[in-house]
Amino acid sequence: MSSTTNTTTIGTIGAPSRRNTELALLVFAVIIPVFAYINVGLAKKQEIPAGVFGYALGLALLAGVAHLVVRKWAPYADPLMLPIATLLNGLGLVFIWRLDQEPKITTTNLGGPMAPGQLMWSTLGVALFLGVLILLKDHRVLQRYTYISMVLALALLIAPIFFPPRYGARIWITLPGVGSLQPGEFAKIIIAVFFAGYLMVKRDALALASRRFMGLYLPRGRDLGPILVIWALSLMILVFETDLGTSLLFFGLFVIMLYVATERTSWIVFGLLLSAGGAVAVATFESHVQVRVHNWLNPLELLDGGVTETAQAMYSFGSGGILGSGLGQGYSRLIGGIAPKSDYILATVGEETGLAGLMAVLLLYGLLIERGIRTALAARDPFGKLLAIGLSGAFALQVFVVAGGVTGLIPLTGMTMPFLAQGGSSVIANWALVGILLRISDTARRPAPAPAPSTDAEMTQVVRP
């Protein structure tokens, strides 16, 4: 046979800008929610809802403006993130509007109809997305604010302690006259900036100064400092704010970024050990956490006249089956309160579009996360890589925590499904997150500047006889 030396050439393929692909997908992403909207109207009131033109026009306008801004300010950005985010946000609006049609859970006590408010928050979110794209010319600027963002993130995380708890968790701050917001949603972006800047500087020390023990690289004691500090902090969030989700998100995000920065599996092992130990320790004395874990283990236990919400969510998934009951024809109002619009919106999705629809929605989240990680792979600077992995990691953890909680895989925590669930802070923060990811992907996919003229340009020396 010929030769064992299999020679290969390595060249580069420039990414095309793909803006037209994005436009086509965006049209698709606007049509699907409008279709769903009409479907709900037909099912609930036997007529095409009156607001359909306004809704279609509004969504198309938001998507169109976003697309034009991307075309102008981030021409090489990833073509999939914006359409997927638009589709998820549009579907979220439809589901919230659909739940608004249930009089039982739309009383003034519970805040009345929420779709108009959510539409306003979505608009603000898209505005922030555009602001990020226009004002943030280069994501490396964020590197300058490494330690400022640490202070800011800590302040945002600690602030809710001083406000009264709602639904058993202190994750809200109330601004008189403006309303309330969940600072944790914004903190997750800011802390990703801090982790990226910090780990970029320290990763060599964390990766190389270690001893090998039983196949694991044991870091030096002093290098364990940061992970212990973050661990203690996340436990404190768990204890004082009684918020499992935020605490899991921050610690998990740090472990993911540490692993990506150092390529050491030992950090994952340490992270899992620390979080398991911390969670068990806190669960022994924190009643809020105990209740959540108890409900998770015994969903069918009777609780003031009914089963737990976890079991009710299970019932809706079961009632939906494979193909679902059809939009607007489910019974998720039975879950009660505003939970179906916020924490349990996935139960509505699962009931009305069935396993098929729920899987499609989860795949959409998966694709969005995949594009984020692809951006991290393609980014040329270490800070951009770490930031992209951090942002997509935070997004992925949030989706996992919510979807896992609703489907009964892990105890329920008070987080919102990005883009889908009702909640202003969440939708605004996630649009900003997608904006930063698009900015990084624009830099990553932009064709590299032509290499400096090399030996080619020099004259060939002439052999003198």
């Binding site: 046979m1 073509p79 009951s325």
Partner: protein, 174 residues
């Protein structure tokens, strides 16, 4: 609203949702970029023609071997690799698989010569219709030598004959 309409809409919604997912995956599939690693001989310029030629050239017994290893369609006794025997790239080998090999200092050459006496596009080596390897000088400054003779026309390369380009010497081996 009739049951039928609602059922159709329900299934239609699922269909468009999945269609979106599938289209998105297709976009990812066609969106490959970054580093391209090309196996020599598999996908090179003119690969189609070369493949056509080699199928004509291959005698029947050799076709069986093709199934096994893919690209080995050479005649018995034909060179299988190009070896750099002198110069800064000494020891480099390139498998000969029916592709044209360009030599020169230009960084898109198959063999990039780091040699002050070589031109950007110095010479090329390619198989003719019968699978015989030919070397052709591309108008270089200092010329290409086969044994001791400066090349003026494309010339077939005997096995093991040194081809001198500047300070670099290459030869074809089995």
């Amino acid at each position: 609203m009739s049951e039928l309409t609602l059922t159709v809409m329900r299934l239609g919604f699922l269909a468009v949702l999945w269609l979106f997912v599938i289209v998105a995956v297709q976009v990812i599939r066609s969106d490959l970029f970054g580093t391209r690693v090309t196996q020599r001989g598999a996908a090179r310029r003119g690969g189609q023609e070369a493949r056509g030629q080699r199928q004509q050239a291959a005698p029947p017994q050799q076709r069986r071997q093709e199934g096994g290893r893919g690209n080995n369609r050479q005649r018995r006794g034909a060179p299988t690799k190009l070896v750099v025997s002198e110069g800064t790239l000494q020891g480099t080998t390139v498998a000969l698989q029916g592709q044209t090999i360009s030599l020169g200092r230009a960084h898109d050459s198959t063999i990039v010569l780091d040699d002050d006496y070589a031109s950007s596009r110095h010479a090329r080596i390619y198989p003719d219709r019968d699978g015989q390897w030919i070397v052709e000088d591309l108008g270089s400054t200092n010329g290409t030598y086969l044994d001791r003779n400066r090349l003026t026309t494309p010339t077939p390369i005997p096995l093991g004959a040194p081809i001198r380009i500047g300070k670099t010497v290459i030869e074809l081996r089995k």
